[in-house]
């Protein structure tokens, strides 16, 4: 990653976000702050402020947004999306921003581990004989993993 370039404002950042699936809405935000008012994270951690994140993105503060650990605090509750008068779909915009952060190499360790699990097992939790024996005792059908599919897809 070219740190020097990221240090400066990047006016194309908003376009990069808008090009991601779900990121299009960013452009029409008019800054009313309705999203921030309903966000359950903002009162708990003031660094996480939906309207501010949009402003930062529109200003081209790429590095400040993508490298910030607070972007991972969105609980994807869709509260902001429901109240937005401009149909920005901020929950989806956050996914677009997180996807860009990942593409830039900013991946929280827990999430990287999840990806490995998905690729190897196709599930968030590995299913071993132990789990299947427990299921069998309760009369529940066996869980079968299909790692070949996930290895091909991811």
């Amino acid at each position: 990653m070219n740190r020097k370039k990221l240090n400066e404002l990047d006016p194309s950042f908003k376009e990069q976000v808008a090009r991601q699936p779900g990121g299009e809405g960013l452009r029409v935000c008019f800054g009313c702050k309705a999203c921030t008012a309903v966000c359950p994270i903002e009162p708990v951690d003031k660094r996480y402020d939906p309207r501010k994140i949009i402003r930062m993105a529109l200003l081209g503060m790429k590095r400040e947004v993508l490298e910030a650990d607070f972007i991972w605090l969105c609980s994807s509750c869709y509260g902001c999306q429901e109240v937005c008068p401009q149909n920005v779909c901020f929950t989806e915009v956050m996914f677009a921003i997180k996807n860009l952060a990942v593409a830039e190499g900013c991946v929280p360790p827990g999430l990287a581990a999840q990806k490995t699990l998905l690729k190897q097992h196709g599930r968030l939790y590995e299913v071993t004989d132990f789990e299947n024996e427990k299921r069998e005792k309760l009369g529940l059908p066996k869980i079968v993993e299909h790692p070949e599919d996930y290895d091909a897809l991811l």
């Binding site: 429901e82 997180k98 196709g122």
Partner: protein
């Protein structure tokens, strides 16, 4: 009616009480569930990494369901929302569908659509209905005070839940509780987010979100908090002790899954409904029911 039971990642390994009670109540109410052993992750956990991967994982499950010619019934709020959202996206964007199918082809699958996806609560509401449940209730849960927790993805985004329930004035769960004879309590933190999606990134923030509801329910002495999502369960049941300790307060809120409650009202036994697997036992509730 018939549907494919979609278990997701968490329920079949960590919430067997939920799975057991879903299967038993469905059978008692005339829903025939079939299993699809090739189902995998719904895709939602991959959405923060790459939305395209997430869509692809969802589409794989939808394609499997299409092959069986059946609709999908999910037990987790996030699985139901992720699969329904994927179906909606693919059914409305031919180009996107073409791209996804190119990748699915590699594993010998194809999605034409549409495939319908509903949460078990929605099947109960729309396919069985309150009237038929009422008739089937053989052991009304009189005097039992229950607090519903819908969960965010049960109600939102409203494009996906329109016609079922409303994010502003949710009612389906409260009514499905009331039909068992129990009282569904209205409370101020009803619509709070559980914080489950944040747990992997910041435990203090996630706990702070869940704490308010637990505190209120402890205060108003509900017999149990009723859930329909394993994600919410991680927070309200799994994290409850830690939250109480961190806040230095004595909270004890028994946590149950809705089908366990429904099952009791239908006359099924606590054992069959997996109550032994509940970690914060609803002892008083069970005592009242068995009395």
């Amino acid at each position: 009616m018939k549907a494919l039971l979609y278990l997701g990642c968490t329920v079949p390994v960590r919430n067997l009480n939920y799975e057991l009670s879903v299967r038993l109540t469905a059978r008692a109410l005339g829903i025939e569930f079939l299993d699809e052993e090739a189902f995998g992750c719904c895709g939602f956990p991959a959405k923060s990494l790459d939305s395209r991967d997430s869509l692809l994982l969802a589409a794989r499950n939808l394609a499997l369901a299409e092959k069986r010619g059946l609709e999908v019934c999910a037990l987790c709020n996030s699985c139901a929302a992720a699969l329904a959202e994927a179906a909606h996206l693919l059914d409305h964007n031919p180009e996107l569908k073409k791209d996804v199918n190119k990748k699915l082809e590699i594993i010998g699958l194809r999605y034409e659509g549409p495939v319908r996806v509903r949460h078990y609560m929605r099947l109960l509401w729309e396919e069985v209905g309150l009237e038929r449940i009422k008739i089937a209730v053989s052991r009304p849960l009189e005097g039992v005070k229950l607090a519903p927790h819908y969960g965010c993805h049960y109600l939102k985004p409203s494009e996906l839940t329109a016609g079922f329930d409303s994010p502003d004035l949710p009612r389906t769960m409260a009514e499905l509780i009331a039909v068992t004879g129990a009282v569904s309590v209205d409370y101020s933190t009803l619509k709070d987010c559980c914080g489950g999606a944040v747990l992997g990134f910041s435990e203090p923030v996630a706990n702070a979100l869940a704490a308010k509801k637990l505190e209120e329910l402890s205060r108003i002495e509900a017999h149990a908090l009723v859930l329909v999502c394993p994600f919410c369960n991680v927070m309200y049941e799994g994290q409850q002790k830690k939250i109480a300790k961190a806040m230095g307060v004595d909270i004890k809120v028994p946590v149950v899954y809705y089908p366990q409650i429904l099952g009791l009202a239908l006359g099924l036994s606590p054992d069959e409904l997996g109550f032994k697997l509940n970690r914060i036992k609803p002892a008083e509730l069970l005592k009242m029911v068995e009395a």
